[in-house]
Amino acid sequence: MGSELLKGFRMLDLTDEKGALCGKIFADMGADVIKVEPPAGCSTRTIPPFLDDLPGPDRSLYAIAYHAGKRSVTLNLDSADGRALFRKLADTADFLVESFPLDYMNERGLGYEELSRSNPRLIYTSITPFGDRGPASRYRAADIVSWAAGGMMYLMGEEGKPPLELSLPQAGLHAGAEAAVASLIAHYPRELDGVGQHIVIDMQACVVSTLMNEQAMPLLHGDYLRRSGIYTGAIGGRRKTIFRCKDGYISGLLAGGAYLPSTNAIIDWMKEEQAAPEWLAQPGGLKALTPAGFMNATEADFRELEMAEEAFERFLMTKTKAEIWQNILRRRILAAPVATVADIAQDPHLAARGYFVKIDHPHLDRELTFPGAFAKMSVTPVGPAGPSPQLGQHNHEVYCELLGLAPELLVQLRAIGAI
């Protein structure tokens, strides 16, 4: 196991849920990622749910998912002996990523200025909820708060009801992945001239970057989008995007423009199965369907579209997600099942690509199944590099074998609470 891509490079990972994915991506690419945790464990180890619903520091599914392939050491940065040990470790590192409050590392003498003095190669990446310069730079941000600050939350939900976040919080994942990209951007010139740098990641901006074309809309079109449940709020008409079917939901759109061939394919399919109302089955039955989209559609056209949507949903209600998906693929319809994790786990396409991988976790007496390679690389395959570590599992390996500490000293450091 272990990719050749970043083999030989070491990252110290001091993040919590605001950045765990950064080290995971690096571990998938073959870097030696050492998760440096407080003696009580990183807070990600307390995130539910837990394996078999049995809480415990090594059983959080979030921690299992995003620490796989990393090594774990414990270290108390509030102890002077712990900090001295950390400096030694940082001297061996190529990358460091952290997500502490803004002053935390500086106050402990472990900021970029200090650490780069003895290790000028170091690339030091700080993940911050609101950047490092604005009035909120010292604010706290649970994931839902970043989701709100970055504008995505306002766009999710029904008008008049509370805005929503996803049931698997996402802001920290975007920030972690951005930290991975930025660290690699700095890596490229560092390998040419040997000089690292400090990077700041703005988590709020990472959420803004997911808003697609919406962020510039108010400046150019004079208004901002409101959340609208399962309807698109895009310019040119409110259109339904989720339809019920026999065993769940299908996402699709009846529209012109880029969707015109797909909408015609849907109508043809309904005609074949005698499910299209007479008016819809006639050529030109849907007047709003033009290559230009809805630019010239009238009120009457939109009423007709709504009737077509109702007929489409009645048709879908006679079929399962799986049957509909087969037709989507065969007829080149722009639609997709609203998949659950169960549907994804059983997807024959992912199986054919050998996507999911099993990783043995001896300390849990279990093999666990993980999402596999985020990309297939022909020369340096990447992917999960190993199990998720137990808290402090690699203390001896890292402190004694890597840094050369005597085993007796390790015992002593543990006794005084430094590790």
């Binding site: 604005g134 909120a136 709100a148 999710m156 490229y188 074309n213 994790v341 297939k376």
Partner: protein
């Protein structure tokens, strides 16, 4: 000293829509020379999508396209014409990276797939990114990111309940995949520098996006549990959600907050002026078990407060809170401004236009939006005349033959 991280790196960019262009934008904004190869016969769909400058549609008027193509140059080649293929092959030796995001069969039809290109340039790094990857039964599925967000499980995690789904806005997975493909590309560049070896990267946007669902997938495989929409319920925080505050200028205002401990809850009650409360709310477990009552209590109390003022007072006592911002608020946000997130660039056709900036800042080799997006074919003369040293007569001929088109 280097100015940008990728000074001297060259990219030929066949990508379109969002994932590919956002990926190559990481390289372009950090100094790489990126040439977008487009064609009037096969327009990038984003050129035909809003927002438009002055709300006027036009292929050179879309800020949607412009946002993802900063710092790049643009040429037009109709690849269905053999002469266009010849021009591309003349550009190939210049390139370190070729990126494309068509459905898998397109480049094979043009005989410009990796096998063909590596025969000419063995150390080439090539990225192909599409919905479901280059292999497997569904590889030719031609979707958009909004459909992938449904297929990859995100729609089902969004809503008040199973019967009231409310999907994330837009093409959500289009903004997950680029960070993964950028990592693969940049690490491959460094690997090539060290070993001399190029390689092929087959990126399925589906497979990258599923990394943002990893805990739920591992959970399903181990327990059979299917995660669904939870409203804003959390197993870690209570309260946890968005609560409506006092309206401002006739507009609704909501505050997002998460309370992590009983101490934070007590501090929050003080900030709210110690309103009469229910003793069931005193403990975390009590608040979780009586979530609906808790939410209606807060809905009533917070309606009397302004979201911005509560943010400051709650943060001062250590409670995580911020207003739920709409897209207009984002442009007025002092924190995004302090990070220099918003920029106005002078586009050759659109004039001054609003761009979003980088989400990272490097201290030594900072990237930035080096130029606005190219108009369609804006750099035809510069690239063909400069890089390929064609005469203006030759270029004119190619334009007339609609090869450069």
């Amino acid at each position: 000293m280097r100015k940008y991280a990728f000074d001297g790196i060259h990219v030929l960019d066949f990508t379109w829509y969002a994932v590919g262009p956002v990926t190559t934008k990481y390289l372009a904004d950090n100094g790489a020379e990126v040439i977008r190869i487009e064609s009037s016969t096969r327009l990038d769909g984003l050129r035909m999508a809003p927002p438009w400058k002055d709300a006027k549609p036009g292929i050179n008027n879309s800020q949607f396209f412009a946002s993802y193509n900063t710092s790049k140059k643009g040429i037009t080649l109709d690849m269905s014409k053999p002469k266009a293929r010849e021009i591309f092959l003349k550009l190939l030796p210049w390139a370190d990276i070729v990126a494309e995001s068509f459905t898998p069969k397109t480049l094979r039809q043009w005989e410009l797939d990796y096998e063909h290109l590596r025969a000419i340039k063995p150390d080439l790094i090539m990225l192909s990114t599409c919905m479901q990857g280059q292999t497997g039964p569904h590889r030719d599925y031609p979707g958009f990111g909004n459909l992938m967000a449904a297929l990859a499980g995100f729609y089902y995690l969004a809503g008040y309940s199973e019967s009231e789904l409310c999907p994330p806005y837009g093409a959500y997975t289009d903004f997950i995949a680029p960070r993964f493909s950028a990592c693969a590309l940049i690490a491959a560049l460094d690997y090539r520098r060290r070993t001399g070896k190029g390689q092929y990267i087959d990126m399925a946007q589906y497979e990258a996006a599923l990394h943002n669902l990893a805990p739920a997938l591992i959970d399903y495989f181990s327990s059979g549990r299917v995660l669904g929409p939870l409203g804003n319920r959390s197993a870690r925080f209570a309260p946890h959600g968005a609560y409506r505050c006092a309206d401002e200028d006739g507009h609704e205002r909501w505050l997002a907050l998460a309370v992590a401990s009983d101490h934070e809850w007590q501090e929050m009650l003080k900030v709210l002026g110690n309103p009469p409360t229910d003793c069931r709310f005193d403990t975390m477990l009590g608040r979780m078990q009586n979530r609906e009552a808790l939410d209606s209590f807060l809905a009533q109390v917070l309606r009397q407060h302004r979201a911005d003022r509560l943010t400051a007072t709650l943060q001062a006592v250590g409670v995580s809170a911020y207003p739920v911002q709409n897209c207009l608020d984002l442009h007025d946000d002092e924190n995004l401004q302090a990070f220099e997130y918003w920029h106005w660039l002078d586009h050759s056709v659109m004039g001054p236009s609003p761009y979003e900036g980088l989400q990272h800042r490097l201290s030594r080799t900072p990237g930035h939006l080096r130029s606005p997006a190219p108009a369609l074919g804006q750099h035809n003369d510069e690239i063909l005349g400069g890089l390929l040293k064609m005469s203006s007569a030759e270029i004119e001929q190619l334009k007339q033959e609609k090869v450069v088109f």
